[in-house]
């Protein structure tokens, strides 16, 4: 019974449970390429999206809110903590496009919220 319920539950998670269309128009061909580059350079070892990933660097969900030049400098030159990956210009642009898309999908971390009596929160 538990297994059957799980199949039903998983189907809902795969479909209506995650049917978030926010930022869809930013998911361009360039952003698609950037998403794969994010994996190729193993960005997740140090960075997070929605708090999921490594802890060496900052959460990148809304990094584009700080502006494209800010993010580009890190990608071009690295820092003391972040290696310089010697990326091509078009790779940097693709990663920027992916991060722009991520930025439009939501907010992380949530800093302004109300706490409900049952322990849940309501973002403001």
């Amino acid at each position: 019974m538990l297994v059957v319920f799980n199949i039903l539950y998983s189907s809902l998670v795969y479909t209506i449970g995650t049917d978030n269309t926010k930022g869809e128009s930013f998911y361009t061909e360039n952003a698609k390429r950037g998403q794969l580059l994010y994996q190729k350079y193993n960005c997740t070892a140090c960075h997070q999206l929605y708090g999921l990933g490594g802890y060496m660097g900052p959460d990148l969900t809304n990094v584009m809110a700080k502006g494209e030049p800010y993010t580009k400098v890190f990608l071009q030159y690295g820092t003391q903590r972040m290696p310089n990956f010697h990326m091509q210009e078009d790779e940097i642009n693709s990663l920027i496009a992916f991060l722009k898309y991520a930025d439009k999908t939501g907010t992380s971390p949530i800093k302004h919220f109300d706490v409900n009596r049952d322990g849940t929160i309501t973002p403001k």
């Binding site: 538990l2 319920f5 799980n6 539950y9 998983s10 998670v13 795969y14 209506i16 449970g17 995650t18 049917d19 978030n20 926010k22 930022g23 869809e24 998911y27 698609k32 998403q35 794969l36 994996q39 190729k40 350079y41 193993n42 997740t44 070892a45 140090c46 997070q48 999206l49 929605y50 708090g51 999921l52 990933g53 490594g54 802890y55 060496m56 660097g57 900052p58 959460d59 003391q80 903590r81 290696p83 898309y101 991520a102 999908t105 939501g106 992380s108 971390p109 949530i110 800093k111 919220f113 706490v115 409900n116 322990g119 849940t120 929160i121």
Partner: protein
């Protein structure tokens, strides 16, 4: 003489553990001292650490199952050849994965960062393991003890969740970030649940053997706990993604499921005094000592898990080192303690090796050093996480300033990692010596 395949898995598991801990120590030092070993950056060291310690968990659990089934469960293995093929697939794939990491060839997702083509042999080896397990245990008459159910569940659900972790290869899942992240963490949460089934099944098995009493493995309570663990495997994962903007019902349901863990916590507290009495009585048995230690870490980590599953608390702790404390406290404090208990039980059984006075002393002192530094390590992560969470919420400092503020506590964390590694070496090296003296015969 043909050597027991179980102990060969255990030898490889222990080597993976020591190598993985070595890379863990290096990565901790890189974390707090930027520039340390710059030619071999954190981006390569971290996946080496993670993959090797995950290999330790799987190899040692699988090695135990291959040995325990024919020896103690009254079940003849369907095939003696398949475990050897399984072993060699694991070795070759493992080496290829390590080479990819060293060369900086990535392409997968967190925890499985290697190029996805290397997942194919892992699938194949798991199918061989599953065929051998089910073809063997289906012949067993009578009611199965709970650990056979747990191992069966772990095997099936590893296969399902490992498949789910690769759904990102399909555009439908990959091309919606929220769906992609949700399913990635659904798969990882359940994957941990599935290896926990293998590990906790092993814990129950070792307990029944040490005590020489099978009744606990057939009791209603054991099956109730199994059912709760199974339900959490299936539905509890979403407390990892409270802040991902998926549907509200996913998060509410996960919150409810996570709170059912209070029942398990309550049971542990209820049995606390009784377990302490038993611990005193049997503490001289090496395997039992590790099980008692695991019990203590279950209590701490389950309490932490319940606390951080409350959304209003999770919003502070998510993405901080408190999550790392929970993950590492569970994999080191609970899983590794149980698996070390199983390894020592199995090594003694197969090799009949008697540890010399010096070796026994090394294991005993190593055990306490390991536990002491694990506690320091765990507390440092909690403190660093709490400070980071508070500063992020305050929203006044840049990320770099926050990290600089928590660096002193993380330096203590990194050095406690070295202590942890030394304690582990003192425990594992005599065990490896016993295994290799058996394999040389």
């Amino acid at each position: 003489m043909k050597k027991e395949i179980g102990i060969i898995f255990i030898a490889l598991a222990m080597i993976s553990l020591l190598t993985g801990m070595f890379f863990g120590t290096v990565s901790a030092l890189q974390f707090v001292f930027p520039g340390f070993l710059n030619d071999f950056p954190f981006v390569k060291v971290r996946p080496l650490h993670v993959s090797l310690v995950i290999a330790w968990i799987f190899l040692s659990a699988i090695g135990g199952i291959y040995y325990y089934l024919p020896k103690y469960c009254g079940v003849k293995l369907f095939s003696d050849k398949l475990p050897r093929i399984h072993f060699w697939i694991f070795v070759i794939t493992g080496l290829l994965i390590l080479i990819c990491y060293v060369m900086g060839k990535f392409g997968g997702r967190e925890y499985w960062e290697f190029p996805p083509i290397l997942s194919v042999p892992i699938f194949v080896s798991w199918i061989l393991f599953g065929i051998n397990y089910f073809k063997s245990v289906f012949k067993k008459a009578g009611q199965w003890p709970v650990y056979l159910w747990m191992w069966a569940t772990g095997i099936v659900f590893f296969f399902i969740t490992f498949s789910e972790a690769h759904l990102w290869l399909l555009p439908y899942f990959r091309e919606n970030l929220i769906r992609d992240l949700t399913i990635q963490w659904k798969a990882y949460g359940a994957l941990v649940g599935s290896w926990n089934m293998l590990v906790y099944g092993t814990a129950l098995f070792v307990m029944t053997r040490v005590k020489g009493d099978e009744t606990a493995a057939h009791s209603k309570l054991a099956f109730l706990m199994y059912f709760l663990g199974f339900a959490n495997l299936l539905f509890g994962w979403a407390h990892h993604i409270y802040i991902v903007p998926s549907a509200l019902w996913i998060r509410i349901f996960a919150y409810f499921m996570s709170m059912t863990e209070l029942l398990i916590l309550g049971k542990i507290i209820w049995n606390w005094r009784k377990s302490l009495d038993e611990a005193k009585k049997d503490f001289h048995i090496l395997s039992y000592r590790f099980i008692v230690s695991a019990d203590f870490w279950v209590f701490l980590n389950l309490s932490l898990a319940v606390i951080i599953s409350v959304p209003a608390i999770n919003v502070f702790t998510h993405g901080t080192h408190i999550t790392v404390a929970h993950a590492m406290g569970s994999t080191i404090g609970i899983n590794s303690m149980i698996l070390l208990a199983s390894c020592f039980f199995l090594i003694k059984d197969i090799t009949q090796y008697e540890f010399s006075g010096m070796e026994a002393k090394s294991i005993k002192i190593g055990f306490w050093i390991f536990n002491f530094f694990l506690m320091v390590f765990w507390v440092c992560l909690l403190v660093a996480g709490a400070e980071k969470g508070a500063m992020v919420m305050e929203d006044k400092l840049a990320f770099q300033q926050i990290m600089a503020n928590i660096n002193p506590i993380l330096i203590v964390f990194a050095f406690s990692g070295i202590g942890l590694f030394i304690g582990l070496l003192m425990v594992v090296l005599p065990a490896l010596k016993a295994i290799f003296s058996y394999l040389k015969k």
